[in-house]
Structure formats: structure tokens, C-alpha cells
């Protein structure tokens, strides 16, 4: 197996980092890799905000719900869907600046931003660094828009913390490959296949510990009642919709 496949297959989320900073050389390689992926029509519809200033990390920490990684990593990269730069290019070339103020174009920009994000993650891991996705950006997108001074056309999607690992966690539990892969057409799930596909996850020691801690009978109940509750999701849907409207995509 080649080195790249090993890097991809050995991915672990790393939440604890040493104080060692990321070298300028490593940062540049990560950013170059991020910008080397495919992009819709060559438009490069994303931007990356580099945070190394510890004071700024502390100020943004509440928007990340004070997750420790958000202040304890030496580097945070925030990836944004960005049509502002391309719209500005159109503005200064007498071209239509309103062609991309819609949900279709927003999807292209999300994809471009996510290609860049995942390339950055793989690059960082290939350099022996550890990364963690902070999904909190899409929850508190309004606050990141203000704090990072994002103009219309720019929507923050995710932050990645990057650092030198001081932990080596167990591999995350995953569904078997057959759970996520379909051949030629989608095969919907029934009670029998769900039971079979989730069997390993449900009997995993990490899951059993969670059931004990939460005093709930299964992982589905923990996730829907404790971690990602409907009422929260509906509230943060209104936030992201307001951001999409303010930034010009809705």
C-alpha cells in the first residue's frame, strides 16, 4: 500500500497538541495542497482564514462552544465558501456581478471549500500533524462572519485545528463499508439491515460507556436527545438561513 493510502486510512481526529508551533514551511505546504484540488470551472470559490494569534483564538472560543482544541492548538484554518472574490473580478471587468447570488452557486462554493479543507487535512497528516474538524462554525456562522469580517458572498463553513499530536487515540468506530456503498442504485435499509450494519458500532466499548454515562438505551437516543437535538438544529437552521440571506445566496 502506498504512503498516501496509509495516510488516508490511518486518519484519527487529534484533540490534544503540544505547544510547538506549526512551521511556516509546513503551513505553506498545507495551504498549497489545499489550493491544488479541483475547483468549479477554475473559479476557486473558497477562502482560507489563518488564525495563529492566541488572543483571537480566545475571543472566538465561545463561538466554538469553548471546545478546548479551539484555544489549545497552535493553528486554526477556517474554510469559507467564497463568491466575493469572483464577483469582485466580474465587477472590475464589466461582467454580471449577480449571476451567483443563488443556492445553486452556493453549492459550488461549498464543494470548492470542502475540497480545499480535506486536502489541507490530508497534507497536515502527511506531515505528522494532527487535525480536528470544528463543526461549530456552521452553527455560529453569524458570529464568524462578524468576527472574521467576511463580506457578502462569503460563508464560513468549518474550522480545522492543527497541531503536533500528544495523544494517539484509538481508531474511530465506523460502519462497515457495505453500509455506505451502493452498487448501481441505492439499496434502502430495513430493520434487518440496520441491525446488522450497526451491530459493531452498538457493541463497541466506547458506545457501551456512553450508554452507561447517559442512562439511555441506545446511541440513536443519545445523539437525538443529548448531542444533536431537533430544537437546537431548528434554531441553528434559522441562523444559517439568516447568514445565507445576508451574504447574498438566499
Amino acid at each position: 500500500m502506498n504512503e498516501t493510502l496509509k495516510t488516508l486510512l490511518q486518519h484519527r481526529t487529534i484533540r490534544k497538541y503540544s505547544d510547538q508551533p506549526i512551521s511556516d514551511q509546513d503551513l505553506e505546504l498545507i495551504l498549497k495542497a489545499a489550493s491544488s484540488g479541483s475547483t468549479m470551472g477554475g473559479m476557486q470559490l473558497y477562502s482560507i482564514i489563518v488564525t495563529r494569534d492566541k488572543e483571537k483564538m480566545k475571543e472566538m472560543a465561545p463561538f466554538h462552544f469553548n471546545q478546548p482544541m479551539a484555544t489549545q492548538s497552535p493553528l486554526i484554518l477556517t474554510f469559507c465558501a467564497d463568491f466575493n472574490r469572483f464577483n469582485k473580478y466580474c465587477l472590475f471587468r464589466d461582467a454580471d456581478t449577480t449571476a451567483y447570488n443563488n443556492v445553486q452557486a452556493y453549492h459550488w462554493a461549498i464543494m470548492d471549500a470542502m475540497i480545499a479543507t480535506q486536502n489541507a487535512c490530508v497534507a497536515a497528516e502527511s506531515l505528522g500533524l494532527g487535525i480536528c474538524w470544528l463543526g461549530t462554525v456552521i452553527y455560529n456562522a453569524d458570529k464568524f462572519v462578524d468576527y472574521l469580517k467576511l463580506p457578502a458572498g462569503v460563508v464560513p463553513l468549518v474550522s480545522i485545528t492543527v497541531g503536533h499530536p500528544v495523544e494517539k487515540p484509538e481508531p474511530p468506530y465506523k460502519l462497515p463499508l457495505e453500509a455506505v456503498v451502493h452498487y448501481e442504485e441505492y439499496q434502502d435499509y430495513n430493520e434487518q439491515s440496520i441491525n446488522r450494519l450497526y451491530k459493531e458500532v452498538e457493541s463497541h466499548p466506547q458506545t457501551l460507556q456512553l450508554l452507561e454515562e447517559n442512562q439511555l438505551p441506545n446511541l440513536a437516543r443519545i445523539i437525538t436527545e443529548k448531542r444533536y437535538k431537533k430544537e437546537d438544529n431548528l434554531y441553528f437552521t434559522t441562523v444559517i438561513n439568516q447568514v445565507l440571506k445576508k451574504q447574498g445566496f438566499l
Copy 2:
């Protein structure tokens, strides 16, 4: 520089493939790499549809606007945002099945699907294979939903064609790194910075050839008037909105 960085930095879109099929071993490595990335709360909110049947490729070709790659590659992988599997898991565990019928949750599933997509691309390229993103899926999402039999909770986002390359195209032109990277906060663009950042792209031989072919004065006008026109984007916005409503996210 390590092998993984080389793979990332040497990315080229490959549109021409030999007839040689992708081996089962390579396909399995690509799919395993795709499923090895980060995922929101461990939920694995994506599915991958594998297309190897040439008849099915031909039937789907019109939905890809008959791009040659859509029938001439030996393998197409279609990546979908997928909350159906997790919702079904909730259904069979007496948990809330409606917590994720919203735009916030849709964003998580898009991100999970894009992590898987980009990992698959990097894995394929590390194996010496070539890939091409087909953005047409998000245009004709309604047709892919029907053809691939995607149930509620599943939205098709992108297809990747994979094959053994028979071309070695020039590296794509990119904006300089400073165009997409911001330090600590977003620095908005003005006419001067746009002129500077787009100078290399605008003087690239590929661009000059496009201007000649299209008889238009600049790339912005070509993209807004020929390639990605406002009227098309608005039409395909209605399509994706209908799909998001039908699939339960709006």
C-alpha cells in the same frame, strides 16, 4: 517532500481514459479511503453509488449534459449527502426521526459527503488513476434522485469519473496562494488587488485562446455570459430547492 504532498500538488483533472477497468482491489482501496475521513459526530452522513454498468452510464449521460467522461470512464462514483440511513437507525431504535429534516443538518451531510469525495480522489490519484469532478449532478439532482432511486434524506452532490489516464494535461492555472489565504481576518479585494491577483490567469495562453474563441474581452465575461449564466443558475436553483424539499431538508 513526502509522497502524499506530491500526489496532492500534482493533481490534474483527467478527462480521457483507456478501456482498462478499475480492479476490484483498487476500487476497494478507494472506497475504504473515502470512508476513513472525519465525519460529523461519527454519523457518516453520506452514501456512495458505484456505477460500472456501461448501459447505466449511457442512460445517465444526458443528466451529465453528455460530457464524454460520463460514458468513457470505466467507473463513476456518485457521492450523496445521506441522512436516510441515520434516520432509519433512529426509527428502529425509537428515537426522533425528524431531528435532521433541516438546512443545518443538510450542511453536515454535505460536508461528510465532500470529505469522502476528496479522499476518494486523492486515493485514486495515489494509485496512478485519473479523476474528473462532474458538477452536473447538482444541476440535475432531480434526475439522479429518480434514476439512482434515492429515498428521502438523500441528495446527490457530485460524480467522479475514474480511469487509467491516456492524457497528461498541463497543470491548471490557479490564482496565486495569497488570493485565497487571509491572515487573522478577511482582507477584501479592490480593483488594484484584483488586477494583481488575476494577472497571471488573464495572460495564460489557455485564457487568451478562450478570448479568441468566444470573441469576448475577458474571462469574467466568458464565464458569466457563456459558461455559468445567471438564467441557468436561477433555473437550477429552483431544481435543487425542489429536491431539498422533496428529500426533506427544506
